[in-house]
Amino acid sequence: MSDDQGYDLSQFKATYFEECAELLAMAEETIARLQEGTGSDEDLNAVFRCVHSIKGGAGAFSFEELVHFAHVFETALDHLRSGKVEMSSHVADLMVRGNDILGDFVRAAQADTALPADHGADILAQLAALTGAVPVVVAKKPATASAPPPLPTVEKTFSIRFHPSPDMLRTGNEPLLMLRELGSLGRMSVIADTNGLPALTEMDALHSYLSWTCTLITSHDRTAIDEVFEFVAGDTAQVIVTEEGAATAAIIPAHGEEGDGWGLFAPLAADDTAKGEEGDGWGLFAPLPGTAQPAQAAPKPAALAANTANAPAAGGNAVHTASIRVDLDKIDRLVNMVGELVITQAMLGQQASGFTVESHPELIQGLQELSHHTRELQENVMAIRAQPVKALFSKAPRLVRDLSTKLGKQARLVMSGENTEVDKTVIEQLSDPLTHLIRNALDHGIETPEERMAMGKPAEGTIHLAAQHRSGRIFIEIQDDGRGIDRERVLAKAVEKGLVERGQQLTDEQIDMLIFAPGFSTAAEVSDVSGRGVGMDVVRKNIQDVGGRVVVQSTPGAGSRFILSLPLTLAVMDGMLVQVGGQRYVLPLTNIVESLRPTAQQARSLVDVGEVLTIRGEYINLMPLHVVFGIDGAITDPTKGLVVIVETEGGERVGLLVDELLGQQQVVIKSLDSNFRPVRGISAATILGDGRVALILDVSALRHMGALALAAQ
């Protein structure tokens, strides 16, 4: 499955449908609360976000009927949450049924079948009536309600390369029957390759020597072909199916015995596979199907020759598997166990802290080795969950192309750092934010060609998508050279929506951050591209859910840059344990710049600013942690305690006053959100070697909290 530029979309669609299932379930559960009258405004927002997310993905894949229904549904939801329509039992029932119909459209899109033309029409009409709109019927493929999914009437031409393994006949599988069944699917021509046939005297009558290349013209789809070879593909035969006109061939999935090489081959053109002789490892080694590069055209012989050259010279099909599929649950259990091991290692370190190398040399050495191996183990286990962001970025070209066409704009996409790896969970959470940010850049950022030229810019706008590792975190940037944030308009809209009080003075940075407020939008007209404000809300929420942050930098007339800062892993981090009164906190090591005990000259108190620290001519805000968290018995004099200078994602520095530094250690991150509740200024918790719980500080949030706490004091 690929689009017209050859990008393989099947894996993205699979991910999208998985997400849809979750979103539909979440919406159903939330609507049920609203129906019972126990729901809140946030529940309504949540349902809205679900529907909006489903619509967003559907737009990317051109599921027009789904987009249309979702758009009407979310418009009704938007009227509900803005108070234009009052919630009632009738409306709640309508939401339940709307969610059901939405599910039908999702499932129909997933199965690639058409629903009856009037499916959900009554619900659509009622939802539209809520907003005073007249529902528009989307042109769709004809279908009848009672008919089974219609068979495709367009004939396709497939090339099928069928290469039985030598032992296939012994296993009771008969190629003749398979070819006969294949032929029954349409009109077929078969070319047999008899080159593998040995001399009669060297022949094993039960050995398979032939292979075939079939050209099948059929109205059936790939599935029917796959079913023919269902019991042999991968295990006892190599089957490569190529649809004429499709960019890539597909290998019918292998079940794969280790060492037999089955299922490890890259897509090949049928006539090229014939070059692979038995005994040369089939000559087809290349990256696994999942890592196959999008092709612009059918695979080229030159590439195949290179692949063949990489095959083992001897040993025939004695190929070692390059990878295996492992259930994600098993990996997560492994990650958890490593986390426990890290805690145990910390506990042992704590127990042995009273011993010296002189008194217990072997014990200390053993503990050091344990620490070393534990870290190595942890890094390797985390690497299992890491995936390149390429999978995520690959959606972008199509999105940019389709949207720019739809919006009548010209834009090119420049990507870098696609191979940067990040935890799988982080990648999954990034899907929605990235989609929204790209849509936003095109819809609100990039100007029309006419506007751009009038401003002296090239008619074609540029969106730069970049990923990189930096200071133990992943940074993803979405930058456009569009019009930038119109702060005057943003502020006016915020005042109008009651997000900001009239006359309130905000910095440019604070105004820019208003675009992340729920329901905020400056779009004059609501479209199905963006403009409801929900997108930026989803962006921030998803990023925060994985311990990340989003920062926006914008220059009017020159463009905007959204910086997503994400943790490399969600399980373990390096931290500095600090003492404040009787409490211990963990500071992420990546945030720490330096620590010092200031002199009386360095620590000053300034009017309207509060405590500051002067270091090398620079003023840094001083934030006593005991004030922020209201801790008694802590050191209050900076010259008697220690100041840890930390840096936020935005590059701002602040000095945290603590009693003392207890040491650096790896800590296992335990979510406060799931185990307790979100706490401002705290990103997570951890268990120390002595069994005590320590809170991990959220430096960026602390900076804002500190200002408030000091002001209150």
Binding site: A192, P198, A205
Partner: protein
């Protein structure tokens, strides 16, 4: 199955089902026939054949090739429709034609 000399040719009457066991047996017979110190052609009589396997088709192809190397010929006689259809399905029509064309 057995090899019978008939009108200066070596004749093999094939069984109704040319499955895996028959393919192995046919291979041995053909090796025997090809090794004989004679210029006689081999005739495969398909008259009774109702079903043929891929394995048997392979053996027949290899037998024909072996005889060609020895400047001898293998002929297929009384080939019924199921066998023709099987060879067609296997993409071996041309090879069968070589055996049936005088």
């Amino acid at each position: 199955m057995e090899i019978v000399e008939h009108n200066g040719r070596l004749l093999i009457d094939l069984p109704a089902v040319l499955g895996l066991p028959a393919a192995a047996e046919l291979r041995d017979l053909l090796i025997d026939a090809a090794a004989r110190d004679t210029a006689a052609d081999i005739v495969l009589n398909f008259n009774n054949v109702e079903r043929i396997s891929t394995a048997a088709a392979q053996v027949i192809l290899a037998g024909a090739a072996a005889l060609r190397l020895a400047a001898r010929r293998m002929d297929a006689e009384a080939v019924p429709e199921p066998v023709t259809a099987a060879f067609t399905t296997l993409g071996l029509t041309a090879q069968l034609n070589q055996l049936t064309t005088p």
